[in-house]
Symmetry: C2
Subunit: 337 residues, 2 copies
């Protein structure tokens, strides 16, 4: 089976210097993969050449003259940049040329464009952003991570259903454990929306585990955590910020004296082991879930290894037919209702 | 100057085995401090004896027959446990016997009881919970951390005013930098409440810095971060959870082989340096702010060192007259309005 993916090669903080080497490495690593690099033709063929590669049947260039800026307002990108690399990559999914697209570009513009071009799945009010968090025992998927600042209880249930299907197929876990993120585990805790959501989750056929608090996000206690996009975005970024500060502080502590620098050499295997566990590059690639098509958002500051992870995430979701499974499950739910 | 503090000696996951040694150490360390241990008399005098101490003029026992359970509903604790160590400790503040109280008990019960007994300050709709986060350059104070799940823009402004006064007096920073926590730094980001709050903050005499995202909580970029209690609670607990998992993982990595265990010995000074920087015990003690009186909430699982930190936090706030300064500032704001 072959999987074809459109890559927004101009998106992200770095653009082609990251996306092109990542694409080259990805097709080398996975023989089933075909990638279409979308962006300014000359820049991309130069970038291929600079990396000792050229176009071939599994790695092609598709010209798109414009680029969406990282801080461009989503509405403006949608209205005015109809030939952006981001828009054209999404169009390729819509046209059936590619089965998924990957972009490290502006999240808001990507979500707005993907919603406009691909449309939301029947039964889903609004798409969400979902990603894996590294955990002590297995990963936990969290959604929404910032697409929806205000969420009704019904919307949270839709997120739960989509998250559960994603994890079931991508991680091969049957009946994934689903929880609602709250500020206490007792039924009386939280706001009215979360209490109503809890009732809907209990009445659903999800493997609902109840409320969890923020300190359970990294323990692997559940497979899917549902929250509104404001809370999810803050929790994710607070964690990224803390991990960054811990990592920098560790470096500072090991540089404080020459004997500490020496000790760092001995400690290197353990420190590298730690880094591998929490390496955000191994967790790169958030899914825009709830759309007619697979769209993966890479971190804007991703390096080539991280961007490759996002490409593989797209390939996995295509192979496991995540979108098709969500559609089927929603239809079965709607027909039961 | 002498400062007298009532200690809920029965509260927390451990009770007297933690609170009593902490109190003994605190009065030994700070000659200006007088502590009243509130709780079951026999248990407390036994605990003093077990730690080689006895009552004296700076360390007394005040009997209270009941104990609020850690998972007891706040309304029930308020109605039915009128002689709990928590309630009596707060009463001592209300009566003017003590200038502050410290409890490691049930947060909801502590807030409900403190509001009921001490009352909210004029001009403040609802009290908040505020605490320090460890930062790369200086600490950042965040509020609310869970007392208020839904917050109006006006309430967020009140939090900003109280947080700014707290930091000004406790940290000695004039015109502390205040920011709103949001999911993007652009004006268009966030929900209606946060956008309205931003207008109120801009129009206030706070040193308002605009929006910050979750990844700036630990950089020391601002002195005070304001958010609603749901978001603040999740961000704080997610951070605690991540720090815990990183710390456990580091331990696991250093235990993987005997040579890694050996390397850990050499790395110990740097690892201990890291631990000191992020030691939550050095940051223990959240303030219930906006009340007629100083109430400090210790982490339920605090050890004696951490509980002592919370006692010192209470003493600092009394010495720096945080409550009096908030009242004066609110009066001046109200008279200007």
């Amino acid at each position: 089976m072959s999987i074809s993916i459109a890559v927004d090669a101009m998106g992200g903080d770095y653009g082609p210097p990251v996306t092109v080497p990542a694409a080259i490495a990805a097709v080398q690593a996975e023989p089933y993969l075909s990638l279409t690099l979308v962006g300014q033709k000359q820049i991309l063929s130069d970038a291929l050449a600079a990396n000792g590669a050229r176009q071939n049947e599994r790695l092609t260039i598709h010209h798109a003259s414009e680029v969406v800026d990282m801080d461009e307002p989503p509405a403006q990108a949608l209205r005015k940049k109809k030939n952006s690399s981001m828009r054209v990559a999404i169009n390729l999914v819509h046209d059936g040329h590619s089965q998924a697209c990957v972009s490290a570009g502006n999240t808001g513009a990507l979500m707005a464009t993907a919603r406009f071009v691909l449309k939301t799945l029947p039964g889903i009010s609004r798409p969400a952003i979902v990603s894996r968090l590294p955990g002590r025992r297995g990963a936990t998927y969290m959604l929404d991570l910032g697409a929806n600042v205000d969420c009704s209880a019904e919307l949270l249930l839709q997120f739960g259903v989509m998250g559960s299907i994603l994890v079931e197929h991508v991680q091969g876990i049957s009946a994934p454990r689903v929880a609602l993120l709250n500020i206490g585990v007792e039924d009386i805790k939280g706001n009215d929306t979360i209490k109503l959501a809890a009732e809907l989750f209990r009445a659903s056929n999800l493997n609902y585990q109840g409320f969890i608090e923020g300190d359970e996000l990294y323990t692997g206690a559940v497979d899917v955590v549902v929250c509104d996009g404001f809370v999810g975005n803050v929790a994710l970024k607070a964690s990224e910020g803390l991990a960054q500060v811990i990592s920098e502080s560790l470096r500072e502590e090991f540089r404080r004296h020459w004997w500490r620098q020496l000790s760092a050499l001995f400690a290197l295997p353990a420190l590298n082991g730690l880094r591998r566990r929490f390496d955000h590059r191994r967790y790169n690639g958030a899914t825009l879930i709830g759309l007619h098509g697979t769209v993966i958002k890479s971190h804007g500051g991703a390096d080539a290894l991280a961007f490759q992870t996002a490409i593989f995430e797209a390939a996995t979701e295509v192979r496991e037919q995540v979108t098709e499974n969500i559609i089927a499950e929603l239809q079965s739910m709607l027909s039961q209702a």
